[in-house]
Symmetry: C2
Subunit: 222 residues, 2 copies
């Protein structure tokens, strides 16, 4: 796999291919690297996703749009898209980072994809970056359903308990396993009234907590 | 003052003047209001400021660019720009909000300005929004100096104490005064080694804490 594979994958032909190479260079490799492009791409992505959601959901209030956007631009989502493009196989990493599995680390892959968006913006402008992002996100956007506008599980659980004037849940990390870039977390969600203990697992503590909260919600509202 | 004053102030002639009217309508007035446009404008602003900073400071690392952007897009900055345009005098507010001084509330003015950016984006595209924002921010951008790339005072104070292996400072709210939209805060910054107590005040707790930390830094490094 070469940077050209990524250019093909996102459907953009770079006039300045050095931009793409920089976007695919992690700071552990040296300078120039993708840190500045990631800063730029992060802003481009926020804007493009906001514009897409604004146009696509004309009746959705601001809070729901914000939640949807947060979900689409967060690391897990970008990581998934980066894997689909094969970004890990084209990344330039320093030796230490390479050996410790950096090419599979979610944060490194997500940042590199944002840097690619920044590179497209510099190479051909906002319209081109907007097209690339819209194309890449099309499957995710097509899958958005009204149910996904709902608040995340932890928020819903908290609001449910507050509405019943009960104490808030506690989240306790029970277990961490796996190497640095493929860790797995198990979290317990503990509720006092009614006494309830649910568990969730996931590739990050955040995801494990959400899954534990989801399980608690199901137990409370069967 | 009319919405046209704002259009003149930002130097954009709206093809669809209803967009501007919506941007200048607070939710307390009814529907349609500027909440969705604010969501859009927030993304547009983030992107445009990122692109401007990226181009203007080719040697600045990502962390400094992020700090600069955070400073330029935060409520205090937007509030100041909104005042300069006279946005408060053209805002449509519900009666209750009007009576309680909503037309001068920093959050309401800052949100309305973001909504105006969103309205320009919808009216004439990213390029037009980018020009409006660049023009409006020009005086602030021209005033940026290398010294402003530095971390904020609380961060610098924390790092200084950590480098000396001393306990971290505490921030204590001493006083709040004024009505809801023109509150003033006084905060003490307490340090144990060496024993030191500085004060800061400001229109938000955050600003007061920064000013207290700045005073502590001066006392520690005269």
């Amino acid at each position: 796999m070469t940077p050209q594979t990524i250019a093909d994958g996102i459907g953009h032909c770079f006039a300045d291919s050095a931009l793409l190479r920089t976007a695919l260079t992690h700071r552990s490799f040296g300078t120039p690297n993708n840190e500045r492009l990631e800063f730029l791409g992060d802003g481009v992505l926020d804007c493009v996703i906001a514009a897409i959601l604004y146009a696509r959901f004309p009746d959705l209030p601001e809070g729901d749009l914000s939640r949807l956007r947060a979900n689409l631009v967060r690391q897990e989502t970008l990581h998934g898209l980066a894997i689909g493009l094969g970004i890990g196989q084209t990344l330039r990493l320093g030796e230490g980072e390479l050996k410790s599995g950096g090419a599979a680390r979610p944060s490194i892959l997500a940042d590199a994809l944002e840097a690619v968006f920044g590179a497209v913006y510099l190479d051909a402008g906002f319209g081109a970056a907007s097209e690339v992002i819209a194309r890449l996100y099309a499957p995710l956007l097509a899958g958005l359903k009204p149910g996904q506008f709902q608040k995340d599980a932890k928020t819903r659980l908290q609001e449910l308990l507050q509405s019943r004037k009960k104490p808030l849940p506690r989240y306790v990390l029970l277990e961490t396993s796996g190497a640095a870039h493929e860790q797995s977390f198990v979290v317990a969600c503990e509720i006092d009234q009614p006494a309830l203990r649910s568990q969730g697992c996931g590739s990050s503590r955040r995801i494990a907590e959400q899954n534990a909260a989801e399980a608690a919600l199901k137990a409370l509202n069967p």
